[in-house]
Amino acid sequence: MSLQTTLPGLSLKNPIMPASGCFGFGREYSELFDLNQLGAIIIKAATKEGRYGNQTPRVAETSSGMLNAIGLQNPGVDKIIDNELPFLANYDVPIIANVAGSSVEEYVEVTKAFARTSTVKAIELNISCPNVKEGGIQFGMDPELANEVTRRVKEVSHVPVYVKLSPNVSNIGAMAKAVEAAGADGLTMINTLTGMQINLSAKRPLLANKTGGLSGPAIKPIAVRMIYEVRQQVSIPIIGMGGIMTAEDVLEFLLAGANAVAIGTANFNNPMICPEIIKALPSVLNKYGFESVEDAIGKGHENEHTDLSRT
């Protein structure tokens, strides 16, 4: 059973990769399993300068989900290049660098810095982080701004650029079309939905940042819907994510139109989830009559409605 799939800049052994921010720079997980098993790795967001991020508490648990407000904590792109990429270069796994910023210039600078390395095979343009006061998400809410930042980053990037879409928008298709028009090589979606939990004892939001990004199985139906919708409106490939916990979930995303998938929150529940899903995937594909990963991509769009009992 072939799990291989090819995306711009990425030749993947399998369609499974950890999602940005949920896997650090791979070191911790490398102690638990061989990273060579992974299709790719999307590393934690990088900004130009190091950022400390938000106050704690930064995470809260919700029904079938979690909220996070890490706030783009990272050591800054130069330190990532110096201290983290050499470690990741030891593995035969394509690295996707998640690029964040508060201004178009910052996105451009960070991308330029990554462009000087050979380890980074693609850029994931994070215009959808809901957890920082300025920068980030406004680019992901407005098609024109998204178009501009994508265009500018494309100008300086030597590797394909995937734009990470925010689900906190009225019209996800319009966002996707705007970044496709700007030359994006692919999309990754979805980032988290903005949410809040209130601590009844403290009588204030539990997260120090008040709001946080909702991820996990709770948001899966929203992710699947958005991917399905976007798949019908653009032709660039999609790396899908949002609540994936099982190989069946992966197939659901492939059917919706994702070309590969990323796994975020599930890593916290089970740090072995990526290799476990990779192992389970062939038999799940087989069970539902698919001969390869590529065979399944987009196949949820083709069949007419049949009754529950006849399926």
């Binding site: 921010g21 949920c22 896997f23 650090g24 070191r27 911790e28 997980y29 102690e31 638990l32 934690k44 400390y52 991020g53 704690t56 508490p57 930064r58 995470v59 809260a60 648990e61 029904s63 079938s64 989900g65 979690m66 996070n68 890490i70 904590q73 996990g216 199985p217 916990m245 929150t265 890593n267 916290f268 529940n269 089970n270 740090p271 072995m272």
Partner: protein, 256 residues
């Protein structure tokens, strides 16, 4: 080296109000656990309690690869854990974090100060200190009489003062009030408990060497997600991850 393994519940007992002692048995790695380290337990089914729960290692039986944990039922995760029965298996990351670095310290007299569910890790610490020939004095604070546990266990190691907020058992007040009254000699103190207590203790004993173990809400529990960071005191604008660099820190190493 952290390991993910299924550990079997071999004993379960309620030892105080809402407080459960559980013994869980696993494979070899378990015996490397040090006092102050914790286990990160998957208490849910993937839908409820998506995040693992961090619980301190209260004791280790190296021969039988057995760990004791003691936890208080405060929410849905600990409630779920309390419903597990002997014979069931728990999905555990073990051992997590860095414990009290007693191997590298030269101590003769130690003061242990625990508060509530901060008491458990001090038990295995006391045991290890005694093996090293250290004299151990303990001060254990609880809300009220029915929360008190492990008094006789700590008495094995030396003097043990119980303090309750309402005076319903032992000394009435906070652990720091007792420090004002009793004079205890020690070269290092080791503390674990609510942040408020750790702050008060650090201040009261500011001229002493010591270690504190701190809590924070966690995501991954292994150092990858930056959920559990705490700023360092050294003005380098640095930070530590509680789950990986801690939960034990030198007093005044991080901002409480």
């Amino acid at each position: 080296m952290i390991n993910k393994q299924m550990m079997t519940i071999v004993k379960k007992e309620q030892i105080a109000k809402d407080t459960i002692e559980m013994q869980i048995c696993g494979t070899s790695i378990v015996s490397s656990a040090e006092p102050g380290q914790f286990v990160h337990i998957n208490v849910g089914d993937g839908n409820s309690n998506l995040l693992r729960r961090p619980i301190s290692i209260a004791d280790v039986n190296k021969g039988e690869q057995m760990i004791t944990i003691i936890f208080k039922v405060i929410g849905s995760g600990t409630d779920q854990l309390s419903r597990c029965i002997v014979g069931e298996e728990l999905d555990v990351l073990v051992p997590c974090g860095k414990g009290y670095p007693i191997k590298s310290l030269s101590i003769t007299k130690a003061l242990l100060i625990g508060g509530g569910i901060g008491v458990p890790p001090l038990y295995y610490l006391a045991k290890q200190l005694q093996e090293k020939g250290v004299e151990v004095t303990s001060i254990l604070g609880f809300q009220t009489k029915e929360n008190v546990f492990y008094q006789s266990e700590f008495e094995q190691f030396g003097p043990c003062h119980i303090v309750t907020d309402d005076g319903s058992y032992g000394f009435k007040g906070y652990v720091t009030d007792l420090l004002d009254k009793e004079s205890v000699e020690f070269d290092y103190f080791f503390s674990c408990g609510p942040t408020g207590m750790l702050k008060a203790v650090s201040k009261r004993l500011e001229n002493h060497k010591g270690y504190v173990s701190i809590e924070q809400r966690m995501g991954c529990g292994i150092g990858a997600c930056y959920a559990c960071v705490v700023p360092t005191c050294d003005e380098s604008n640095g930070f530590k991850k509680i789950c990986k660099d801690g939960p034990v820190f030198r007093v005044n190493e991080v901002v409480l």
